[in-house]
Amino acid sequence: MGEENIIELGQIKDFIHPGDRVWVGGWTLVRKPMAMLYELIKARLTNLHVVNQPGGPDTDLLIGAGCVSKSEANYIGHEVFGHPYNFRRQFEDNGGSSDFLHDDWTVGTGTMRILAGALDIPFIPTKFLRGSDLMNPDNDGFKDIRTTDPKVPKKKFVTMRDPFWEGEECILVPALRPDVCLLHVQEAFEDGTCRISGGVFLDYYAAMASKTVIISTEKIVKGEQPKKAYDENVIPGEIVDYIVEVPFGGHPTAVHACYDNDPLWFQEYIEASKGNESMDRWLEEWVFAHDSFTNYLERVGSQQLDRLVADPAYGYSPNILRRLDKIKEVV
């Protein structure tokens, strides 16, 4: 990309549309492009089809804000912090009514599917999925729309006999083909080249597989770099469409070498996410009330942000107290 593609946070909503298959980068509690997601919620985007594998607060939040009508994921949750109540309510209340469709996968198959997407092959064989109820055709969450929705594969999987070697039964799974890919990285160059530390997860593959790639970065690195630095680059600028500089843009998730998870945010969010009314209040206070991400960070508080800043020697912050049941004692 060129420098003309360095954008403002407010612009990203223009590049995402209802019905789009959206890949949200990072991994559950780590390097999630939260600042960009808050923008999408403020823009009241609806009918998104979330395809990232796995999902964390990013996905539960988008669901809770009413932005999502379809999700295919292997996991949606907050790991040790608590349960994804917005996601849960979709099933436990409306019993999976047609206004929210969910298709269950696994980390192994999700990985193979986005790899196939990056290779631009329509499907890929895998050994995973066998032996589980995920193979039961009645449990195919997208069963009713596979023949009608062109953004969904016509089948969840197909079995065939290996014609080349021992002739074992194989499972073919369809490629994931996101329309939009949202990633948050530590550093990006003006030409879109990205640098990620602490693990790339599936971000590179998702960027390669997606039609439009939008990246928020802690820092835009300007000017000529030493060759050594180049060796750390993991995403070439050629496959990046837009970048936006957003310090703390991953909060409340952890960004290696920058800052840690914010347990206080999770405690408040998870409590609020237990009911529709409390969730709406949370959205009002934490999203709609802020006309800029700076306002949001003020809401978090500079004292808390300082506590989250990573110790360069570790890549995380040894200073945050992580036992949610004890946090109240110190705050």
Binding site: D104, T159, G198
Partner: protein, 261 residues
């Protein structure tokens, strides 16, 4: 007299003892990670601990929140992606032990981390498989850790997220014994808050191998808290945690008391 350790501490210690040097162990977050870390810091220093998102041969000085946590990659020698860890190491059968938790386990060691009730209209919906289904399927052996309650130890799980010894067949409907389906691996043990369960070599049914006698657990309680008839005839009292195991667990593995509260 009252034991100077908790059921949770006994469970983590019992689980850690099942891991050995020179094994490649793929662990999930939570208690499995705690047990794996305890093993690495006690009897299995050369054991390689992997996490699905990025961590390879990790030995965290602070317990990770999740499998992608910066704490998991601190000082690791290689930073793979899930394509290498799951797509290559696990899928090629190179992982010795998979270490899993779940919401429900049944008498054949099938695990459920998807939902309670029907899949379409569940009474309770959980986070989903994550890597559990893949790990239970492709690791050479699986160890399950779970709190021992009647609602968790059931005759047959509501949803087979992670296949045990009696799996779903390729048609997605009927069930068959794992070996008859040509699948390798399978659950080796279930470590609970009351004891360590294993599986009969021929019937593949769960039985009680050891129980936490010193903590006041008796076999009747285990049967009461188990939702199916379980063989207790071979049950032996477990060897309690050594002072060294307890000290390392409390001061080195989880000093913050994140998991072992």
């Amino acid at each position: 007299m009252k034991a100077k350790y908790s059921n949770l501490e006994m469970m983590v210690t019992a689980a850690s003892r099942l891991l050995q040097d020179d094994q490649k162990v793929l662990v999930g977050t939570g208690i499995p990670l705690v047990a794996g870390t305890l093993a690495k810091k006690t009897h299995a220093k050369k054991m390689k601990m992997l996490m699905e998102a990025v961590a390879y041969d990790c030995d965290p000085v602070s317990l990770p929140f999740c499998v992608a946590d910066p704490r998991a990659v601190y000082k690791t020698k290689w930073l793979p992606t899930p394509v290498e860890v799951m797509g290559q190491f696990l899928q090629s059968g190179a992982i010795d032990v998979g270490f899993l938790g779940g919401a429900q386990v049944d008498k054949f060691g099938n695990l459920n981390s998807t939902c309670i009730g029907s899949y379409k209209k569940p009474v309770k919906r959980f986070e989903g498989s994550g890597g559990a289904s893949d790990i239970a399927l492709m690791a050479k052996s699986t160890i399950i850790i779970m709190s021992h309650q009647k609602r968790r130890f059931v005759d047959s799980v509501d949803f087979i997220t992670s296949p045990g010894w009696y799996c779903r067949q390729m048609d997605g409907k009927s069930q068959a014994m794992r070996s008859d389906m040509g699948l390798k691996g399978g659950p080796y043990a279930v470590v609970s808050t009351m004891g360590v369960m294993k599986f009969d070599d021929t019937s593949k049914l769960m039985y009680v191998d050891t129980y936490y006698k010193e903590l006041g657990v008796d076999l009747e309680t285990i049967q009461e808290e188990t939702g199916f008839d379980i063989d207790i005839s071979q049950a032996k009292p477990i060897f309690p945690p050594t002072p060294k195991e307890l000290e390392i667990l409390r001061t080195k593995v989880d000093p913050e008391g994140i998991y072992i509260k």
